[in-house]
């Protein structure tokens, strides 16, 4: 027991800034320590979300990059084991070129090459994550990083589509309100009657209320 104090790794733990994580975590967390993760993502909020998800799961060596133009330099200096990037990010082609053309012995490969775990691959695709890992890195070592990232990307994707839906709903309401206003003025009817008229017309033509409202607003704009 006395020897433990002199143990090199013990000393290392004590001075490591990641000490809290290491002390509270399981053995897995200790193993995670030396995986270096780079995130390429321009949106600061999304970056923060991914970093905190990874940090909570025990990875602390995480760096984020908004601009692909600095990537070459960053990759050479930081030497990441894993690079995470949104599947739909147009910078992927640039990232691939840099990762594959880099002269370091740590050559990156696209994660999807390893299709041994098809469920994971499809989950990543559906969540919109693409990852590049250093060639030769064992799947079991990166699997939990990916699972964390996939979970996080899924939430972000869902939030985005909810946000888009909310925006659309707001836009639609404005259009319907304008259409109602036009009908109320032109036909001298109440708001409720205007809406009923829109709905009846839509049903009669087998269209949506919003489509009829759109047509009305466009026509009114043309005639005004």
């Amino acid at each position: 027991m006395l020897n433990l104090a002199a143990d090199k790794s013990f000393a290392l733990f004590r001075v490591s800034p990641a000490i809290d994580v290491l002390m509270t975590g399981s053995n897995d967390v200790v193993m995670n320590r030396d995986l270096r993760i780079l995130i390429v993502e321009p949106d600061p909020e999304r970056v923060q979300g991914i970093i905190s998800a990874l940090t909570e799961a025990g990875w602390t060596d995480v760096k984020a990059l908004a601009q692909i133009s600095a990537l070459d330099r960053t990759v050479k200096k930081f030497v990441p084991d894993i690079v995470l990037i949104d599947l739909s990010n147009p910078d992927r082609d640039t990232l691939e070129h840099i990762s594959f053309a880099s002269e370091t012995s740590k050559r990156a490969v696209a994660l999807f090459v390893d299709q041994t775990d098809d469920a994971l691959t499809q989950a990543a695709l559906n969540a919109g994550v693409s990852a590049y890992v250093v060639d030769g890195l064992k799947m079991e070592r990166i699997k939990s990083v990916l699972e964390t990232a996939i979970a996080r990307f899924k939430i972000m994707r869902q939030m985005q589509s909810e946000l888009d839906a909310a925006k659309q709903a707001l836009e639609d309401r404005k259009t319907i309100d304008r259409a109602k206003g036009i009908l109320m003025r032109q036909r001298n009817i109440s708001e409720d009657d205007a809406y009923t008229l829109l709905r009846k017309t839509a049903m009669g033509q087998n269209r949506k209320v919003i489509d009829v409202a759109h047509a009305l607003v466009t026509a009114a704009d043309l005639l005004s």
Binding site: D93, T94, E96, H97, V109, F112, S130
Partner: protein
């Protein structure tokens, strides 16, 4: 005929036209196909989606199926090119600052331009290309490596951002597909110096790509798709349809570009500099004429050679350009078939009549700027 739904990936460029026309003018519907055109944000994404089965077919850079089939790049996979979607259609341009340095170089003078660039000695030339496995990059490497003393640095830039990359000095020059060369000129950030065909007269630019396994399992769907695209390409290449094609493409939700950005590529009227008269470039972007859609196995071999493939790799490349399926599926609808599936690339300096099933085949010049020829004999 029951409808078959096909998800087909594309990148919004003028040369995705055969797919858009096949869908919007009903050539796909005539074959009982529902063509879902799915825009892709990058070539890497398009490749992943195709390889992992989320897309059935894709508008792909011609070197991509070759690279993937011989195991190069981010995601190796056996991918077939069913037919060529377009020949030529790219431009090489330089920033206004570099153009001033170079002085007067005639438009389309590949040799003269090379000499002028090599004479310039201020560090490596940073050249923007859309993707590493692109005809743009292969032509650039082939052309630039033929002269001593010209150092180039390849920088991958998404085409919609190419003009910005030139404007903010991130690249000195660019090799890009239309409309993005015309955009750089219109924004007055650069000048077009030559087109891809000044380096190789008849370069396969985009192909219709599918997974090799998919071809085998979906022979009927593949045949229908090929016929629809073949008819769309023939329609596009008829001179009388060009103006209408520009209108249809501009209105299509799949491209959403203004007609003046689509027009130069389809009419071959390339404006090299803002406020200068356009240059007429014959065969700037070819879809059908001169056997443009025929997937010559020798074209695949040339691509493989440029990618550094060995003899085995070259044979693999040849086998992924499916001239066999082209003959089988398009012979019945009147496509004129050449007597052979390979030719000596670079041998033709003029339009040349060749043996074909219909007897009407005239091949266009396919010479390289340096006069080299490439013969890839079949393996014994």
């Amino acid at each position: 005929m029951s409808d078959i739904v096909l998800n087909c990936g594309y990148v919004p460029l003028v040369d995705c036209a055969p797919l858009v026309i096949a869908k919007d003018l009903g050539f796909a519907a005539e074959e009982g196909l529902v063509l879902n055109l799915v825009a892709q944000p990058s070539w890497s994404a398009l490749r992943d989606m195709l390889a992992l089965g989320h897309l059935d077919a894709a508008h792909m850079l011609s070197p991509m199926p070759v690279a993937m089939s011989i195991g190069l790049g981010g995601l190796p996979a056996r991918v077939d090119a069913l037919m060529v979607l377009s020949v030529n259609g790219t431009v090489f341009g330089v920033s206004n600052a570099l153009a001033a340095d170079l002085g007067e170089v005639p438009f389309g003078d590949a040799q003269g331009l090379l000499a002028a660039l090599a004479a310039r000695t201020s560090g490596p030339l940073r050249i923007g290309v859309p993707f590493h496995y692109s005809m743009h990059r292969l032509l650039l490497s082939y052309w630039a490596s033929s002269v001593d003393g010209l150092k180039t640095e390849e920088i991958v830039v998404p085409p919609p951002r190419m003009a910005d990359a030139v404007a903010n000095g991130f690249v000195d020059a660019f090799w890009v597909g239309e409309p993005w060369g015309s955009v750089a000129v219109q924004q007055n950030v650069g000048q077009v110096m030559m087109t891809g065909k000044d380096v190789w007269g008849f370069a396969p630019e985009k192909v219709l790509a599918v997974r090799h396994d998919w071809t085998n399992a979906n022979e009927d769907a593949a045949a229908r798709l090929m016929r629809a695209v073949f008819r769309a390409s023939a329609w596009l290449d008829a001179d009388k349809n060009r103006t209408l094609a520009v209108e249809i493409l501009a209105r299509s939700e799949h491209l959403s570009m203004s007609p003046d950005l689509i027009d130069p590529a389809l009419t071959g009227q390339i404006t090299p500099r803002l406020n200068h008269a356009p240059q007429t470039v014959a065969r700037f972007m070819q879809f059908h004429k001169h056997a443009a859609s025929f997937p010559w196995r020798s074209q695949a071999a040339w691509i493989a050679r440029q990618l550094g493939a060995d003899a085995t790799g070259i044979q693999t490349a040849k086998s992924c350009f499916r001239s066999d399926l082209y003959r089988r599926n398009l012979g019945g609808i009147g496509a004129d078939m050449p007597g052979a599936s390979e030719k000596i690339e670079g041998a033709l300096r003029f339009e040349t009549a060749v043996a074909s099933t219909g007897g009407h085949m005239i091949l266009a010049p396919d010479a390289f700027f340096d006069g080299r020829t490439f013969d890839f004999p079949a393996e014994n």
